[in-house]
């Protein structure tokens, strides 16, 4: 459903991505792994068109979205849960969820409220804090809120940037379980993760990025068994 071809992104003189190509099929979980500065976040930002592409194309369902405004891309059904939990700190938890659907004028108030309640079933902790401001939540709760906000869109493709960053292991586990549930509901997921072991275990396929280039690709299991991946990212 999503295809990235020969993507190049430069930050000034620094080449963040050189010639990255990848493909995501309907209802897959794809993961990008790689060290710091390998270009994982840049890839997602380029898909969302939050950074300028030097060259390369991104197509979604055969439609070229390389130069489309970020908000239009969201309305096509691509939700991006950014790294560092860009939630709205001064809006309440509930408002943060509501704003996830703000650009979709077609859905009714009732439908929106149903979705909010749905999120509260998945994340009961958010329900307890529905009136609190986003900034008052703990790191784990903020991450849940960011994911929930992405899910409010009912996107076709959910892109998640380091959802486990700085979280307690038990919450990380919850989030990964959630991902498998989300996949069952028919969504496609593009996941960036520093915890390569966890990511490759849930992923159908994975890409390994190094210095802005894709150096390896394969199914999750193949990559887990790959001696180079083991040495560099799994620490075995």
């Amino acid at each position: 459903m999503l295809k990235v071809d020969n993507l190049v992104v430069n930050y000034g003189y620094i080449q963040a991505l050189r010639d990255v190509s990848l493909e995501i099929k309907e209802n897959e979980i794809i993961t990008l792994i790689g060290g710091n500065g390998a270009g994982k976040s840049s890839t997602l930002m380029a898909i969302s068109n939050l950074v300028k592409k030097t060259s390369g194309t991104v197509t979604f369902d055969g439609r070229d979205i390389s130069r489309m405004d970020p908000d239009k891309i969201v309305s096509l059904g691509i939700a991006h849960v950014p790294e560092g939990r860009n939630i709205f700190k001064k809006l309440s938890v509930e408002e943060n969820l509501l704003i996830g659907t703000i650009t979709n004028k077609k859905i009714s108030k009732k439908e929106i409220n149903d979705r909010v309640e749905e999120m509260f079933v998945i994340f009961p902790r958010l329900k307890e804090r529905r009136k609190k401001s986003g900034g008052s939540l703990s790191g784990g709760e903020q991450q849940m809120l960011a994911i929930a906000r992405g899910l409010m869109l009912k996107p076709r493709l959910l892109m998640m940037d380091e959802p486990s960053l700085g979280l307690a292991p038990i919450i990380v586990e919850e989030i990964f379980e959630l991902m498998e549930d989300v996949k069952k509901s028919g969504m496609t997921i593009l996941l960036i993760e520093q915890n390569a072991m966890l990511a490759l275990n849930v992923a159908d396929r994975g890409y390994v990025l190094q210095n802005g280039e894709i150096v390896l690709t394969g199914t999750g299991k193949e990559l887990l068994d790959n001696p180079e991946v083991k040495k560099a990212y799994l620490g075995i």
Binding site: K52, D71, N86, L91, T103
Partner: protein
């Protein structure tokens, strides 16, 4: 009694400052940048009312609407010239561009409208209500009423409407706003227009309160708006409103006790004092 009357004068003048500061805070929020053109926006609003009175007669209500629209249109021009072209450039370029825009508008106004002071019609001249021995002018009540009404409308707009929520989201985090599908460019433009419109209305109130308009009136007005916003805490709308009233009251009580030439001294002395003690402003949060 004299001081009490000065207090009322201060609240009235302060509410004009408050409206200017609220508009400024809205702009600062969505654009994420201080603007130096705001004083000239206030002046343009004031002049639009001046010409409205000449062309269509002395209807204050419609003049306020005309002022809002004129200032919002000037806001669009400022946005197109100063912000939109430099979205990816370093922020100081937009900042310097607003300084240039301010000079241009001031001189444009001087050439087109003339450099001499112009008189505004007097509304409710000599009419006042007496509470005990204190007199409160109709005009003063009207000004305070208009400011309170507009503040309420703005609050409801920001809290209850779809667009209001978008504006708040863009003010807090532009990247996150884009990621939930908000068109950041259009939202910023609309926020800028609303902020400028409020500034235009404040300019008219200033003009009718002092019965005069002047192409160079924007300089001090813009500075007072900025000071009020900083005093309340950058970007906080309620803070800006309280900062404005506070500056108005301190100014008027200050000149009541000394001489009227020291008006601006009191305003800025208050600002400096508060910033020395609370650098984040009265209602600002640390580290913002």
């Amino acid at each position: 009694m004299y001081l009490l009357e000065q207090l009322i004068n201060g609240i009235c003048q302060g509410s004009i400052y408050a409206l200017m500061a609220i508009g400024y805070a809205v702009i600062y929020g969505v654009v994420g940048l201080v603007t130096f053109t705001y004083g000239e926006i206030i002046m343009m609003g004031s002049f639009s009312a001046f010409y409205y009175f000449i062309l269509f007669g002395d209807n204050l209500f419609f003049a306020l609407i005309a002022g809002f629209i004129t200032a919002a249109v000037v806001g669009i021009v400022v946005h197109k010239v100063c912000y939109q072209r430099f979205l990816d450039a370093p922020r100081y370029i937009s900042l310097i561009c607003t300084i240039g825009m301010s000079m241009f508008l001031k001189n444009f106004a001087t050439i087109v409208f003339g450099s001499e002071m112009k008189g505004m019609p007097a509304f409710f001249a000599g009419k006042f209500i007496e509470i005990g021995t204190i007199r409160v002018g109709y005009m003063q009540l009207l000004i305070i009423g208009v400011v309170i009404a507009l503040s309420l409308v703005l609050t409801i707009y920001l809290k209850k409407t779809r667009m209001g929520m978008k504006l708040r989201a863009v003010s807090q985090d532009k990247k996150a706003a884009a990621l939930v599908g908000i068109n950041v460019k259009t939202t910023t433009l609309i926020g800028n227009c609303i902020g400028c419109g409020l500034g235009g209305v404040a300019g008219i109130l200033l003009g009718v309160y002092y019965n005069s308009v002047l192409p160079t009136m924007g300089g001090m007005a813009g500075l007072k708006a900025f000071s009020s916003m900083v005093l309340g805490g950058l970007g906080s709308i309620s803070g800006a409103a309280i900062g404005g009233v506070l500056i108005g009251v301190v100014e008027n009580l200050g000149i009541a006790l000394t001489s009227s030439g020291l008006r601006d001294v009191f305003a800025f002395l208050l600002l400096v004092l508060v910033l020395v003690i609370r650098p984040q402003g009265l209602f600002g949060k640390k580290g913002n």
